[in-house]
């Protein structure tokens, strides 16, 4: 049973990654003109090559990348490249490889993503737990409707409002970028403060929008848990409220939230991409935005592939550690 589940789960990941790679391979070839080749020719023209030179260059390009081979050979080769994470060269920053472009910015994205996730998950779950707890103040109930309404709006639309009020009207936070232009990134405190200040608005727009989802999920689970027999028993035993709340209710209601995390991962990532490109935050979202702007197809394909791959892997990891977090499944403790 367990092995079958593992196999199925790995199979799903493989299928997802294979689908992404296959789409990336065939889509450019399906479109009436091959944008990759077109772009090469365009680059060559702007570089001042003569007509003859382009032909030669395209030929050389085709031989180099194996485009003169039959389609199935190219396809297998492409799958091999993807498996080794060889995403090819960037068309807009040519000698650079796409993977290097991504490596330059990935830290920014991962950093802000982990931060927003941690804050919204913790705050949201806590808020949801408190809303559902019968002994918490009544005013918390009135938070549900606004939270839910906000979470139905895309994060970057919310970001636009934040920028207008907090960066333009009241100039508390900078409008865009990851740090003040002209500063030299070093390890000084001033630099980190500058970075933090720039990250506030992008982070805030993601956090505010995703808070509601976590809160409502938690609230639902808390209501279910509160009806369980062991809660009634624990209360009858006269356990302290604090202990009841944290060790009995929250502990058990928190688990399904981890599943929710896995399910909403793709949604979170795409949301952040849009927020980054709105704020010009120097992460992977802005890289994607720029690549689209300059028609760098290799970068577009590489970025989407890598994102799909990482979302798949993280979801898999979450699915696999879920049983470890469940106290009911853990064995070998106590008697």
């Amino acid at each position: 049973m367990r092995a079958a589940y593992l196999l199925r789960r790995f199979g799903l990941l493989l299928a997802v990654v294979w689908t992404a790679a296959t789409l990336n391979f065939f889509l450019p070839r399906l479109s009436p003109r091959n944008p990759v080749r077109e772009r090469i020719i365009q680059m060559a023209t702007s570089g001042g090559y003569v007509e003859q030179g382009i032909d030669k260059m395209v030929k050389a390009y085709e031989a180099k990348f194996g485009l003169d081979q039959p389609l199935w050979k190219q396809y297998l080769r492409y799958l091999g490249d993807m498996a080794r994470l060889d995403l090819g060269y960037s068309l807009s920053a040519y000698p650079k490889r796409v993977i290097d472009l991504i490596a330059e910015v990935i830290g920014w994205s991962v950093g802000i993503a982990l931060f927003t996730l941690l804050v919204s998950f913790t705050l949201g779950s806590l808020l949801g737990a408190l809303i559902a707890w019968p002994k918490s103040p009544k005013f918390l109930q009135y938070l549900v409707a606004p939270l839910m309404t906000i979470s139905s709006v895309p994060a970057y639309i919310f970001g636009l409002v934040l920028v207008y009020f907090l960066a333009f009207r009241v100039k508390i936070f900078p409008m865009s970028g990851g740090f003040t232009l002209g500063t030299v990134p070093d390890n000084s405190l001033a630099y980190y403060m500058d970075v933090a200040k720039h990250a506030v608005l992008p982070a805030l727009s993601v956090i505010l929008v995703s808070l509601g989802g976590w809160a409502l999920g938690m609230r639902g689970m808390m209501v279910t848990v509160e009806g369980e027999d062991y809660m009634i028993l624990a209360e009858a035993k006269g356990l302290k409220d604090r202990r009841l709340f944290l060790k009995y209710a929250v502990r058990n209601a928190l688990l399904p939230q981890i599943t929710g995390l896995g399910l909403s991962l793709g949604y979170l990532v795409t949301g952040q991409i849009l927020v980054e490109s709105l704020f010009g935050f120097p992460g992977i979202g802005s890289l994607l935005n720029r690549s689209i702007f300059v028609y760098d197809y290799n970068a577009i394909l590489g970025i989407t592939f890598l994102l799909i791959l990482s979302i798949g892997v993280v979801t898999l990891i979450l699915d696999l550690i879920y049983p470890l977090l469940d106290p009911r499944i853990r064995t070998g403790e106590g008697k």
Binding site: I157, V161, Y297
Partner: protein, 281 residues
């Protein structure tokens, strides 16, 4: 009249219908005041704040923003509805086949749905749209969005049909000699209607969400005044730095209204479909 009395009990359904009706009237009647041709560049003097002549102001390309927002509401909602309807139609069809006939077909459909639901849709759409970038029109954009709008409905309809077909009334119908098609259209379909409604709202919301995202990344119909493109131009022309607040806040307000309307509508439909389920809000 019974409908209106029901709306008094189901406040969220009422709110959703009210907001969406308002937007519908805005998009249709608005055209009478603001002719659509003013929604294209160089139609009016640029960068004017709201005034009696241009109640919503004008943007840097010389569009009348009232006309732009009116057209944008219409175009964006049309993109979403078209994609959503196609997605729902395909999804319902596949869901029925999957649940009703089962077997290998069911296995294949379920796998494809599982795989595609795991892949973040917007990223796949980015790849497709990037390949068609310069040729995109609002209609082709909604067809692209429809490619990834059918999995949700397939899953919902499949599970509903699976649970419905075991009910007594379906068995009775089968025993009384109704054939498969009769059972599908006379017994199952009417019972599925609330779910179909909720699925439609869900896929329309998803499609509008994705269309705005694509447009914000510069993968939309560049020449058309959709709401997403308006937001794109807001950023492109740096409306923030220049303090053109009307240009920023108007499309944002309409987008928020659209999502709130759809959200209340789906919450209301949920309550209509399962009155026993505890309210979420």
């Amino acid at each position: 009249m019974r409908f209106f009395r029901y709306l008094r009990r189901n406040k969220r359904l009422a709110a959703g219908i009210f907001i969406l009706t308002f937007l519908f009237l805005f998009a249709t009647l608005g055209r009478l005041i603001a002719p659509p041709e003013r929604a294209y560049p160089l139609a009016v003097p640029p960068n004017k704040p709201p005034s009696p002549e241009y109640p919503f102001g004008t943007d840097s390309q010389g569009r009348d923003l009232l006309a732009t927002i009116v057209m944008g509401t219409y175009l964006t909602v049309r993109i979403g509805v078209l994609a959503g309807v196609i997605g729902l139609a395909v999804g319902t069809f596949l869901g029925f086949i999957s649940a009703y006939y089962g077997g290998v077909l069911d296995t294949i459909i379920r796998w494809v749905v599982d795989v595609l639901l795991t892949v973040p849709g917007l990223l796949v759409l980015v790849v497709i749209a990037a390949m068609l970038q310069r040729t995109l029109k609002p209609t082709s954009l909604s067809l692209i969005l429809a490619l990834l709008a059918w999995m949700g409905p397939t899953r919902t309809i499949r599970s509903q049909v699976l649970s419905l077909r075991e009910r007594a009334f379906v068995r009775v119908a089968k025993l009384s000699g109704e054939n498969n098609l009769e059972i599908i259209f006379k017994e199952l379909f009417p019972n599925l209607l609330p779910y179909l409604g909720a699925s439609l709202v869900g896929s329309v919301t998803g499609a509008i969400f994705a269309s705005l995202g694509l447009e914000q990344l510069g993968l939309g119909a560049m020449r058309e005044p959709t709401l997403g493109m308006t937001i794109y131009w807001v950023q492109y022309y740096g409306a923030f730095v220049r303090g053109l607040w009307w240009w920023i806040l108007e499309p944002v307000a309409v987008i928020v209204l659209i999502f709130m309307g759809l959200f209340f509508l789906s919450a209301g439909l949920d309550e209509f479909a399962n009155p026993r389920v505890r309210r979420v809000v």
